[in-house]
Protein backbone atom coordinates (compact mmCIF):
# COMPACT_ATOMS: atom_id res chain seq x y z
CA UNK A 1 0.00 0.00 0.00
CA UNK A 2 1.40 3.37 -0.85
CA UNK A 3 0.62 6.99 -1.47
CA UNK A 4 0.17 7.81 -5.10
CA UNK A 5 0.63 10.17 -7.92
CA UNK A 6 -2.62 12.01 -8.49
CA UNK A 7 -1.62 12.83 -12.05
CA UNK A 8 -1.40 9.18 -12.93
CA UNK A 9 -4.88 8.61 -11.53
CA UNK A 10 -6.30 11.55 -13.45
CA UNK A 11 -5.27 10.09 -16.79
CA UNK A 12 -7.36 6.93 -16.34
CA UNK A 13 -11.14 7.04 -15.90
CA UNK A 14 -11.36 3.90 -13.73
CA UNK A 15 -11.42 0.42 -15.21
CA UNK A 16 -15.05 -0.16 -14.25
CA UNK A 17 -16.21 2.43 -16.78
CA UNK A 18 -14.11 1.11 -19.63
CA UNK A 19 -17.19 0.23 -21.66
CA UNK A 20 -16.58 -3.50 -21.72
CA UNK A 21 -18.95 -6.07 -20.35
CA UNK A 22 -22.29 -7.28 -21.53
CA UNK A 23 -25.26 -4.97 -22.13
CA UNK A 24 -22.75 -2.14 -21.78
CA UNK A 25 -24.87 0.32 -23.70
CA UNK A 26 -27.66 0.21 -21.09
CA UNK A 27 -25.77 -0.99 -18.00
CA UNK A 28 -22.60 1.07 -17.47
CA UNK A 29 -21.20 -0.72 -14.46
CA UNK A 30 -21.96 -3.10 -11.60
CA UNK A 31 -21.08 -2.62 -7.98
CA UNK A 32 -21.28 -4.61 -4.74
CA UNK A 33 -20.90 -2.90 -1.38
CA UNK A 34 -20.36 -4.83 1.85
CA UNK A 35 -20.69 -3.14 5.27
CA UNK A 36 -18.86 -4.44 8.33
CA UNK A 37 -18.26 -3.14 11.85
CA UNK A 38 -15.84 -3.99 14.62
CA UNK A 39 -17.01 -5.45 17.87
CA UNK A 40 -16.28 -3.48 21.01
CA UNK A 41 -16.50 -0.11 19.27
CA UNK A 42 -19.32 2.36 18.95
CA UNK A 43 -20.58 3.03 15.43
CA UNK A 44 -18.66 5.72 13.54
CA UNK A 45 -21.12 8.60 14.10
CA UNK A 46 -21.01 7.94 17.85
CA UNK A 47 -17.19 7.80 18.18
CA UNK A 48 -14.73 10.40 19.39
CA UNK A 49 -11.55 10.96 17.37
CA UNK A 50 -9.48 8.65 19.55
CA UNK A 51 -11.83 5.73 18.93
CA UNK A 52 -11.99 6.51 15.21
CA UNK A 53 -8.20 6.42 15.14
CA UNK A 54 -8.19 3.02 16.78
CA UNK A 55 -10.72 1.62 14.31
CA UNK A 56 -8.70 3.07 11.41
CA UNK A 57 -5.50 1.49 12.70
CA UNK A 58 -7.04 -1.97 13.21
CA UNK A 59 -8.72 -1.91 9.80
CA UNK A 60 -5.61 -0.74 7.96
CA UNK A 61 -3.55 -3.45 9.64
CA UNK A 62 -5.94 -6.06 8.29
CA UNK A 63 -6.19 -4.46 4.83
CA UNK A 64 -2.42 -4.27 4.46
CA UNK A 65 -2.06 -8.03 4.70
CA UNK A 66 -4.46 -8.83 1.87
CA UNK A 67 -3.65 -10.00 -1.64
CA UNK A 68 -6.55 -7.90 -2.95
CA UNK A 69 -4.56 -4.82 -1.89
CA UNK A 70 -1.12 -6.06 -2.93
CA UNK A 71 -0.99 -3.19 -5.41
CA UNK A 72 -2.98 -0.50 -3.75
CA UNK A 73 -3.08 3.09 -2.65
CA UNK A 74 -3.97 4.67 0.64
CA UNK A 75 -5.55 8.08 1.15
CA UNK A 76 -5.91 9.68 4.55
CA UNK A 77 -9.05 11.68 3.89
CA UNK A 78 -8.26 14.34 6.48
CA UNK A 79 -4.95 15.19 4.83
CA UNK A 80 -6.14 15.96 1.32
CA UNK A 81 -7.91 19.01 -0.06
CA UNK A 82 -11.67 19.32 -0.50
CA UNK A 83 -11.09 19.26 -4.25
CA UNK A 84 -9.23 15.94 -4.01
CA UNK A 85 -11.99 14.47 -1.90
CA UNK A 86 -14.58 15.44 -4.51
CA UNK A 87 -12.32 14.00 -7.18
CA UNK A 88 -12.45 10.60 -5.43
CA UNK A 89 -16.23 10.83 -5.03
CA UNK A 90 -16.65 11.56 -8.74
CA UNK A 91 -14.87 8.27 -9.41
CA UNK A 92 -17.24 6.54 -6.96
CA UNK A 93 -14.22 5.46 -4.90
CA UNK A 94 -15.77 7.17 -1.89
CA UNK A 95 -19.37 8.07 -1.13
CA UNK A 96 -20.67 11.61 -0.87
CA UNK A 97 -21.32 10.95 2.82
CA UNK A 98 -17.61 10.34 3.24
CA UNK A 99 -16.86 13.91 2.19
CA UNK A 100 -18.59 15.65 5.07
CA UNK A 101 -16.35 14.23 7.80
CA UNK A 102 -12.75 13.46 7.04
CA UNK A 103 -10.91 13.16 10.36
CA UNK A 104 -9.62 9.61 10.88
CA UNK A 105 -11.29 8.50 7.67
CA UNK A 106 -9.26 6.39 5.28
CA UNK A 107 -9.57 5.01 1.78
CA UNK A 108 -7.67 2.06 0.37
CA UNK A 109 -8.14 1.11 -3.25
CA UNK A 110 -6.55 -1.35 -5.62
CA UNK A 111 -4.42 0.27 -8.30
CA UNK A 112 -6.90 -0.89 -10.97
CA UNK A 113 -9.76 0.72 -8.94
CA UNK A 114 -11.77 -2.50 -9.02
CA UNK A 115 -11.98 -2.82 -5.27
CA UNK A 116 -11.94 -0.22 -2.52
CA UNK A 117 -12.30 0.02 1.24
CA UNK A 118 -13.65 3.06 3.06
CA UNK A 119 -12.78 3.12 6.74
CA UNK A 120 -15.06 4.99 9.15
CA UNK A 121 -17.82 5.73 6.72
CA UNK A 122 -21.35 5.18 8.11
CA UNK A 123 -20.02 1.74 9.04
CA UNK A 124 -16.47 1.07 10.17
CA UNK A 125 -15.71 -0.80 6.97
CA UNK A 126 -17.32 -0.34 3.59
CA UNK A 127 -15.93 -2.62 0.91
CA UNK A 128 -16.79 -1.91 -2.72
CA UNK A 129 -16.22 -4.19 -5.69
CA UNK A 130 -16.71 -2.84 -9.21
CA UNK A 131 -17.06 -4.34 -12.68
CA UNK A 132 -17.61 -2.79 -16.06
CA UNK A 133 -20.97 -3.40 -17.75
CA UNK A 134 -23.63 -5.80 -16.46
CA UNK A 135 -21.43 -8.14 -14.43
CA UNK A 136 -22.64 -8.30 -10.84
CA UNK A 137 -20.90 -11.65 -10.29
CA UNK A 138 -17.45 -10.19 -10.90
CA UNK A 139 -18.18 -7.16 -8.73
CA UNK A 140 -19.31 -9.49 -5.93
CA UNK A 141 -16.27 -11.73 -6.24
CA UNK A 142 -13.97 -8.71 -5.93
CA UNK A 143 -15.72 -7.37 -2.82
CA UNK A 144 -16.21 -10.78 -1.26
CA UNK A 145 -12.58 -11.83 -1.76
CA UNK A 146 -11.45 -8.80 0.20
CA UNK A 147 -14.04 -9.46 2.91
CA UNK A 148 -12.83 -13.07 3.20
CA UNK A 149 -9.26 -11.88 3.54
CA UNK A 150 -9.75 -9.23 6.20
CA UNK A 151 -12.43 -10.96 8.30
CA UNK A 152 -10.12 -13.41 10.12
CA UNK A 153 -7.97 -10.49 11.33
CA UNK A 154 -10.87 -8.50 12.71
CA UNK A 155 -13.39 -9.06 15.46
CA UNK A 156 -16.49 -8.28 13.40
CA UNK A 157 -19.83 -7.37 14.96
CA UNK A 158 -22.08 -10.33 14.20
CA UNK A 159 -25.28 -11.70 15.69
CA UNK A 160 -26.46 -15.29 15.16
CA UNK A 161 -29.96 -14.22 14.27
CA UNK A 162 -29.43 -10.78 12.74
CA UNK A 163 -26.20 -11.38 10.86
CA UNK A 164 -23.63 -8.61 10.41
CA UNK A 165 -24.54 -5.60 12.55
CA UNK A 166 -24.56 -2.17 10.90
CA UNK A 167 -25.07 1.40 12.13
CA UNK A 168 -28.34 1.63 10.24
CA UNK A 169 -30.72 -1.35 10.47
CA UNK A 170 -31.44 -1.08 6.73
CA UNK A 171 -28.02 -2.62 5.98
CA UNK A 172 -28.23 -5.33 8.60
CA UNK A 173 -27.75 -9.03 7.82
CA UNK A 174 -25.56 -9.52 4.79
CA UNK A 175 -24.45 -5.87 4.97
CA UNK A 176 -24.61 -6.06 1.20
CA UNK A 177 -25.96 -3.76 -1.46
CA UNK A 178 -25.79 -4.84 -5.06
CA UNK A 179 -26.27 -2.14 -7.66
CA UNK A 180 -25.93 -1.32 -11.31
CA UNK A 181 -25.46 2.05 -12.95
CA UNK A 182 -28.07 1.99 -15.68
CA UNK A 183 -29.12 4.33 -18.49
CA UNK A 184 -32.89 4.48 -19.02
CA UNK A 185 -33.78 7.24 -21.51
CA UNK A 186 -36.49 5.11 -23.12
CA UNK A 187 -38.39 4.61 -19.88
CA UNK A 188 -37.98 8.27 -18.92
CA UNK A 189 -39.18 9.63 -22.27
CA UNK A 190 -42.12 7.23 -22.45
CA UNK A 191 -42.99 8.19 -18.84
CA UNK A 192 -42.93 4.53 -17.83
CA UNK A 193 -40.23 5.16 -15.23
CA UNK A 194 -42.71 5.96 -12.45
CA UNK A 195 -44.46 2.63 -12.86
CA UNK A 196 -41.08 0.95 -12.68
CA UNK A 197 -40.16 2.81 -9.50
CA UNK A 198 -43.37 1.73 -7.85
CA UNK A 199 -42.94 -1.96 -8.73
CA UNK A 200 -39.32 -1.92 -7.64
CA UNK A 201 -40.26 -0.49 -4.28
CA UNK A 202 -42.79 -3.27 -3.76
CA UNK A 203 -40.13 -5.85 -4.60
CA UNK A 204 -37.67 -4.41 -2.06
CA UNK A 205 -35.50 -2.82 -4.68
CA UNK A 206 -34.75 0.85 -5.14
CA UNK A 207 -33.63 3.34 -7.72
CA UNK A 208 -31.47 6.35 -7.00
CA UNK A 209 -29.66 9.06 -8.94
CA UNK A 210 -26.17 8.81 -10.43
CA UNK A 211 -24.43 9.35 -7.11
CA UNK A 212 -26.66 7.22 -4.93
CA UNK A 213 -28.63 8.22 -1.86
CA UNK A 214 -30.35 11.57 -2.23
CA UNK A 215 -28.56 12.56 -5.42
CA UNK A 216 -30.31 14.24 -8.31
CA UNK A 217 -31.30 12.22 -11.34
CA UNK A 218 -29.29 13.56 -14.26
CA UNK A 219 -28.99 12.41 -17.84
CA UNK A 220 -31.37 9.49 -17.25
CA UNK A 221 -28.65 7.64 -15.35
CA UNK A 222 -29.82 5.63 -12.37
CA UNK A 223 -28.53 3.29 -9.71
CA UNK A 224 -30.72 0.25 -9.35
CA UNK A 225 -30.15 -1.78 -6.20
CA UNK A 226 -31.61 -4.13 -3.61
CA UNK A 227 -32.99 -2.41 -0.54
CA UNK A 228 -33.37 -5.47 1.68
CA UNK A 229 -30.18 -6.93 3.12
CA UNK A 230 -31.55 -9.31 5.76
CA UNK A 231 -33.02 -12.74 5.22
CA UNK A 232 -31.71 -13.52 1.75
CA UNK A 233 -28.31 -15.13 1.15
CA UNK A 234 -25.83 -13.25 -1.03
CA UNK A 235 -26.07 -15.54 -4.05
CA UNK A 236 -29.85 -15.23 -4.09
CA UNK A 237 -29.66 -11.44 -3.71
CA UNK A 238 -27.35 -11.34 -6.71
CA UNK A 239 -29.61 -13.63 -8.71
CA UNK A 240 -32.66 -11.52 -7.79
CA UNK A 241 -31.04 -8.27 -8.84
CA UNK A 242 -29.69 -9.84 -12.01
CA UNK A 243 -33.17 -11.05 -12.98
CA UNK A 244 -34.58 -7.65 -12.13
CA UNK A 245 -32.00 -5.88 -14.30
CA UNK A 246 -32.66 -8.27 -17.20
CA UNK A 247 -36.33 -7.30 -17.02
CA UNK A 248 -35.56 -3.59 -16.77
CA UNK A 249 -33.27 -3.88 -19.81
CA UNK A 250 -36.08 -5.56 -21.73
CA UNK A 251 -38.54 -2.80 -20.72
CA UNK A 252 -36.02 -0.17 -21.68
CA UNK A 253 -35.44 -1.74 -25.09
CA UNK A 254 -39.17 -2.06 -25.67
CA UNK A 255 -39.70 1.60 -24.75
CA UNK A 256 -36.94 2.66 -27.12
CA UNK A 257 -38.38 0.61 -29.99
CA UNK A 258 -41.80 2.08 -29.34
CA UNK A 259 -40.42 5.63 -29.21
CA UNK A 260 -38.51 5.18 -32.44
CA UNK A 261 -41.54 3.65 -34.12
CA UNK A 262 -43.89 6.43 -33.02
CA UNK A 263 -41.59 9.41 -33.28
CA UNK A 264 -38.57 8.47 -35.30
CA UNK A 265 -37.96 11.87 -36.85
CA UNK A 266 -38.37 13.66 -33.54
CA UNK A 267 -35.98 11.31 -31.79
CA UNK A 268 -33.38 11.39 -34.54
CA UNK A 269 -33.52 15.16 -34.40
CA UNK A 270 -33.03 15.09 -30.65
CA UNK A 271 -30.01 12.79 -30.95
CA UNK A 272 -28.30 14.85 -33.64
CA UNK A 273 -29.04 18.17 -31.97
CA UNK A 274 -27.41 16.81 -28.81
CA UNK A 275 -24.45 15.63 -30.84
CA UNK A 276 -24.16 19.01 -32.52
CA UNK A 277 -24.25 20.86 -29.23
CA UNK A 278 -21.60 18.63 -27.72
CA UNK A 279 -19.38 19.12 -30.76
CA UNK A 280 -19.65 22.86 -30.97
CA UNK A 281 -20.90 24.40 -27.72
CA UNK A 282 -18.52 26.82 -25.96
CA UNK A 283 -19.97 26.51 -22.47
CA UNK A 284 -21.99 23.70 -20.91
CA UNK A 285 -23.09 22.83 -17.36
CA UNK A 286 -22.74 19.34 -15.86
CA UNK A 287 -26.45 18.81 -15.93
CA UNK A 288 -26.84 19.87 -19.56
CA UNK A 289 -23.80 17.82 -20.57
CA UNK A 290 -25.22 14.71 -18.93
CA UNK A 291 -28.51 15.18 -20.70
CA UNK A 292 -26.78 15.65 -24.08
CA UNK A 293 -24.53 12.66 -23.49
CA UNK A 294 -27.66 10.66 -22.65
CA UNK A 295 -29.23 11.55 -25.98
CA UNK A 296 -26.07 10.71 -27.95
CA UNK A 297 -25.80 7.45 -26.03
CA UNK A 298 -29.35 6.64 -27.07
CA UNK A 299 -28.30 7.40 -30.65
CA UNK A 300 -25.34 5.03 -30.37
CA UNK A 301 -27.64 2.30 -29.06
CA UNK A 302 -30.03 2.82 -31.98
CA UNK A 303 -27.18 2.66 -34.48
CA UNK A 304 -27.66 6.30 -35.53
CA UNK A 305 -24.37 7.59 -34.19
CA UNK A 306 -21.52 5.35 -35.22
CA UNK A 307 -18.38 7.43 -34.77
CA UNK A 308 -18.53 7.72 -30.96
CA UNK A 309 -17.85 4.68 -28.79
CA UNK A 310 -19.59 3.79 -25.55
CA UNK A 311 -16.18 3.90 -23.91
CA UNK A 312 -15.70 7.50 -24.99
CA UNK A 313 -19.09 8.44 -23.59
CA UNK A 314 -18.32 6.65 -20.30
CA UNK A 315 -15.03 8.48 -19.94
CA UNK A 316 -16.81 11.71 -20.64
CA UNK A 317 -19.15 11.06 -17.70
CA UNK A 318 -16.13 11.05 -15.40
CA UNK A 319 -14.05 13.84 -16.94
CA UNK A 320 -16.78 16.45 -17.29
CA UNK A 321 -17.34 16.56 -13.55
CA UNK A 322 -16.17 19.64 -11.62
CA UNK A 323 -13.30 18.16 -9.61
CA UNK A 324 -11.94 16.22 -12.60
CA UNK A 325 -11.93 19.34 -14.76
CA UNK A 326 -10.07 21.27 -12.08
CA UNK A 327 -7.56 18.52 -11.28
CA UNK A 328 -6.71 18.16 -14.95
CA UNK A 329 -6.31 21.88 -15.40
CA UNK A 330 -4.25 22.04 -12.23
CA UNK A 331 -6.06 25.09 -10.88
CA UNK A 332 -9.34 25.76 -9.14
CA UNK A 333 -12.02 27.16 -11.43
CA UNK A 334 -15.32 28.87 -10.73
CA UNK A 335 -18.54 27.62 -12.26
CA UNK A 336 -18.31 29.77 -15.38
CA UNK A 337 -14.73 28.71 -16.07
CA UNK A 338 -15.65 25.08 -15.51
CA UNK A 339 -18.53 25.28 -18.02
CA UNK A 340 -16.07 26.59 -20.62
CA UNK A 341 -13.47 23.93 -19.75
CA UNK A 342 -16.14 21.23 -19.91
CA UNK A 343 -17.29 22.27 -23.38
CA UNK A 344 -13.66 22.38 -24.53
CA UNK A 345 -12.95 18.90 -23.17
CA UNK A 346 -16.00 17.44 -24.90
CA UNK A 347 -15.12 19.14 -28.21
CA UNK A 348 -11.57 17.77 -28.03
CA UNK A 349 -12.72 14.23 -27.33
CA UNK A 350 -15.32 14.22 -30.10
CA UNK A 351 -12.91 15.79 -32.61
CA UNK A 352 -10.40 13.05 -31.75
CA UNK A 353 -12.95 10.21 -32.08
CA UNK A 354 -15.31 11.59 -34.68
CA UNK A 355 -14.75 12.67 -38.22
Amino acid sequence: MSGFDWNELIETPGAWLDGDGSENEIVLSSRVRIARNLNGHRFTHNCDNAELGEILRKSLDAAQRTRAFAHSRYVSMGEISTLDRHFLAERHLVSREFLANSVSRGLVFAADENVSLMINEEDHLRIQGFASGFDIGTAYRRANDLDDEIAPDLDLAYHERLGFLTACPTNLGTGMRVSVLIHLPGLVHSKEIHKLLESLRKLHHSIRGFFGEGSEVMGNFFQLSNSAALGTPEDVMIKNLREMVVKVIAYEQRSREMLFRKAQRLLEDKVWRAYGLLRYARSVSTKEALSLISAVRLGVGAGLVTDVSIRTLNEMLVYIQPAHLQKRKGTPMDREERDVARALHIRDVLARDGH
Binding site: G40, E122, L154, P169, H204, A229, P233, M237
Partner: protein
Protein backbone atom coordinates in the same frame (compact mmCIF):
# COMPACT_ATOMS: atom_id res chain seq x y z
CA UNK B 1 -41.92 3.37 39.12
CA UNK B 2 -43.89 4.36 42.19
CA UNK B 3 -45.14 2.08 44.91
CA UNK B 4 -48.60 0.76 44.06
CA UNK B 5 -49.83 1.09 47.64
CA UNK B 6 -48.76 4.54 48.82
CA UNK B 7 -48.17 5.94 45.32
CA UNK B 8 -45.50 8.28 46.60
CA UNK B 9 -42.28 6.41 47.35
CA UNK B 10 -40.31 4.55 44.67
CA UNK B 11 -41.12 0.85 44.33
CA UNK B 12 -38.23 -1.28 45.53
CA UNK B 13 -39.87 -4.62 46.21
CA UNK B 14 -41.23 -6.56 43.27
CA UNK B 15 -43.05 -9.85 43.59
CA UNK B 16 -46.01 -11.74 42.29
CA UNK B 17 -49.14 -12.29 44.34
CA UNK B 18 -51.96 -14.65 43.60
CA UNK B 19 -55.26 -12.80 43.77
CA UNK B 20 -58.47 -14.62 42.84
CA UNK B 21 -56.55 -17.36 41.05
CA UNK B 22 -54.58 -15.02 38.89
CA UNK B 23 -51.05 -13.70 39.17
CA UNK B 24 -50.70 -10.06 39.96
CA UNK B 25 -47.42 -8.21 39.81
CA UNK B 26 -46.74 -6.18 42.94
CA UNK B 27 -44.37 -3.24 43.14
CA UNK B 28 -44.02 -1.75 46.60
CA UNK B 29 -41.73 0.58 48.46
CA UNK B 30 -39.75 -0.81 51.40
CA UNK B 31 -42.12 0.74 53.97
CA UNK B 32 -45.34 -0.59 52.48
CA UNK B 33 -43.76 -3.99 51.93
CA UNK B 34 -42.84 -4.20 55.61
CA UNK B 35 -46.33 -3.05 56.63
CA UNK B 36 -47.79 -5.82 54.47
CA UNK B 37 -45.52 -8.24 56.25
CA UNK B 38 -43.36 -9.06 53.25
CA UNK B 39 -40.01 -10.22 54.43
CA UNK B 40 -37.47 -7.80 53.04
CA UNK B 41 -33.86 -8.68 53.36
CA UNK B 42 -31.91 -5.48 53.20
CA UNK B 43 -28.53 -6.86 52.32
CA UNK B 44 -27.36 -9.99 50.55
CA UNK B 45 -29.20 -13.26 51.03
CA UNK B 46 -31.76 -14.90 48.83
CA UNK B 47 -34.97 -13.17 49.83
CA UNK B 48 -37.66 -13.62 47.25
CA UNK B 49 -37.96 -9.88 46.62
CA UNK B 50 -34.24 -9.58 46.29
CA UNK B 51 -34.04 -12.37 43.79
CA UNK B 52 -36.69 -10.94 41.55
CA UNK B 53 -35.74 -7.31 41.86
CA UNK B 54 -32.04 -7.77 41.44
CA UNK B 55 -32.01 -8.83 37.88
CA UNK B 56 -35.19 -8.30 36.04
CA UNK B 57 -37.60 -5.45 36.27
CA UNK B 58 -39.01 -6.53 32.96
CA UNK B 59 -41.07 -9.30 34.46
CA UNK B 60 -43.24 -6.81 36.27
CA UNK B 61 -42.89 -3.49 34.46
CA UNK B 62 -45.34 -2.68 31.75
CA UNK B 63 -43.79 -3.17 28.31
CA UNK B 64 -44.04 0.46 27.24
CA UNK B 65 -42.43 1.72 30.40
CA UNK B 66 -39.65 -0.79 30.09
CA UNK B 67 -38.91 0.15 26.49
CA UNK B 68 -38.67 3.84 27.26
CA UNK B 69 -36.19 3.17 30.06
CA UNK B 70 -33.90 0.64 28.42
CA UNK B 71 -30.40 1.87 27.81
CA UNK B 72 -27.80 -0.02 25.85
CA UNK B 73 -25.45 -1.26 28.58
CA UNK B 74 -22.42 -0.68 26.36
CA UNK B 75 -22.94 2.79 24.87
CA UNK B 76 -25.84 4.23 26.86
CA UNK B 77 -28.07 4.76 23.82
CA UNK B 78 -31.83 4.74 24.28
CA UNK B 79 -34.33 3.66 21.66
CA UNK B 80 -35.40 7.30 21.34
CA UNK B 81 -31.85 8.17 20.21
CA UNK B 82 -32.19 5.67 17.39
CA UNK B 83 -35.57 7.07 16.42
CA UNK B 84 -34.12 10.58 16.32
CA UNK B 85 -31.12 9.88 14.07
CA UNK B 86 -31.87 6.53 12.41
CA UNK B 87 -28.65 4.95 13.54
CA UNK B 88 -27.79 2.82 16.52
CA UNK B 89 -25.02 3.66 18.94
CA UNK B 90 -23.00 0.44 18.87
CA UNK B 91 -23.36 -3.22 17.87
CA UNK B 92 -24.72 -4.14 21.32
CA UNK B 93 -27.72 -1.83 20.78
CA UNK B 94 -29.21 -4.60 18.62
CA UNK B 95 -29.41 -6.88 21.64
CA UNK B 96 -30.60 -4.08 23.94
CA UNK B 97 -33.44 -2.98 21.62
CA UNK B 98 -34.06 -6.27 19.87
CA UNK B 99 -37.78 -6.43 20.59
CA UNK B 100 -38.46 -2.93 19.20
CA UNK B 101 -36.14 -3.36 16.23
CA UNK B 102 -37.78 -6.56 15.05
CA UNK B 103 -40.82 -4.59 13.84
CA UNK B 104 -38.51 -2.18 11.99
CA UNK B 105 -36.62 -5.05 10.38
CA UNK B 106 -39.79 -6.80 9.30
CA UNK B 107 -40.89 -3.59 7.61
CA UNK B 108 -37.56 -2.81 5.92
CA UNK B 109 -36.37 -6.28 4.97
CA UNK B 110 -39.48 -8.42 5.15
CA UNK B 111 -37.47 -10.69 7.40
CA UNK B 112 -35.94 -10.90 10.86
CA UNK B 113 -33.62 -13.83 10.32
CA UNK B 114 -30.22 -13.58 8.69
CA UNK B 115 -29.35 -15.98 5.90
CA UNK B 116 -26.09 -16.17 4.03
CA UNK B 117 -22.48 -15.58 4.87
CA UNK B 118 -21.59 -16.00 8.52
CA UNK B 119 -18.85 -14.36 10.53
CA UNK B 120 -15.71 -16.45 10.40
CA UNK B 121 -14.72 -15.49 13.91
CA UNK B 122 -17.55 -14.70 16.26
CA UNK B 123 -15.78 -13.40 19.30
CA UNK B 124 -16.23 -15.37 22.49
CA UNK B 125 -17.29 -12.23 24.24
CA UNK B 126 -20.05 -11.62 21.72
CA UNK B 127 -21.18 -15.23 22.07
CA UNK B 128 -21.26 -14.79 25.83
CA UNK B 129 -23.32 -11.63 25.56
CA UNK B 130 -25.84 -13.46 23.43
CA UNK B 131 -25.91 -16.30 25.96
CA UNK B 132 -26.68 -13.78 28.72
CA UNK B 133 -29.53 -12.32 26.67
CA UNK B 134 -31.04 -15.78 26.22
CA UNK B 135 -30.65 -16.54 29.91
CA UNK B 136 -32.45 -13.33 30.82
CA UNK B 137 -35.41 -14.48 28.77
CA UNK B 138 -35.31 -17.86 30.50
CA UNK B 139 -35.19 -16.07 33.84
CA UNK B 140 -38.28 -14.02 33.01
CA UNK B 141 -40.12 -17.20 32.09
CA UNK B 142 -38.98 -18.97 35.26
CA UNK B 143 -40.23 -16.09 37.39
CA UNK B 144 -43.52 -15.96 35.54
CA UNK B 145 -43.87 -19.67 36.12
CA UNK B 146 -42.93 -19.14 39.80
CA UNK B 147 -40.10 -21.61 39.45
CA UNK B 148 -37.89 -19.71 41.84
CA UNK B 149 -35.40 -22.47 42.32
CA UNK B 150 -34.67 -22.48 38.59
CA UNK B 151 -34.67 -18.66 38.58
CA UNK B 152 -31.98 -18.61 41.23
CA UNK B 153 -29.86 -21.00 39.19
CA UNK B 154 -30.23 -18.91 36.08
CA UNK B 155 -29.43 -15.75 38.01
CA UNK B 156 -26.19 -17.28 39.28
CA UNK B 157 -25.27 -18.33 35.77
CA UNK B 158 -25.89 -14.82 34.45
CA UNK B 159 -23.78 -13.29 37.21
CA UNK B 160 -20.95 -15.70 36.50
CA UNK B 161 -21.03 -14.91 32.78
CA UNK B 162 -21.21 -11.19 33.38
CA UNK B 163 -18.21 -11.29 35.68
CA UNK B 164 -16.33 -13.15 32.96
CA UNK B 165 -17.30 -10.62 30.29
CA UNK B 166 -16.32 -7.68 32.48
CA UNK B 167 -13.06 -9.40 33.36
CA UNK B 168 -12.17 -9.49 29.69
CA UNK B 169 -12.83 -5.83 29.07
Amino acid sequence: MLCQRCKSRPAKVHYTEIVNNSMVAMNLCMECAEEKGIEVQKSGGYGLGDLVAGLIDTAVDSEAERISKVRCPTCGYQYSDFKAIGRLGCPDCYTAFESQLLAVLRHVHGSTQHAGKKATRVSERAAMRERVATLREDLTRAIEGEDYERAAEIRDEIRALETQVEGEL
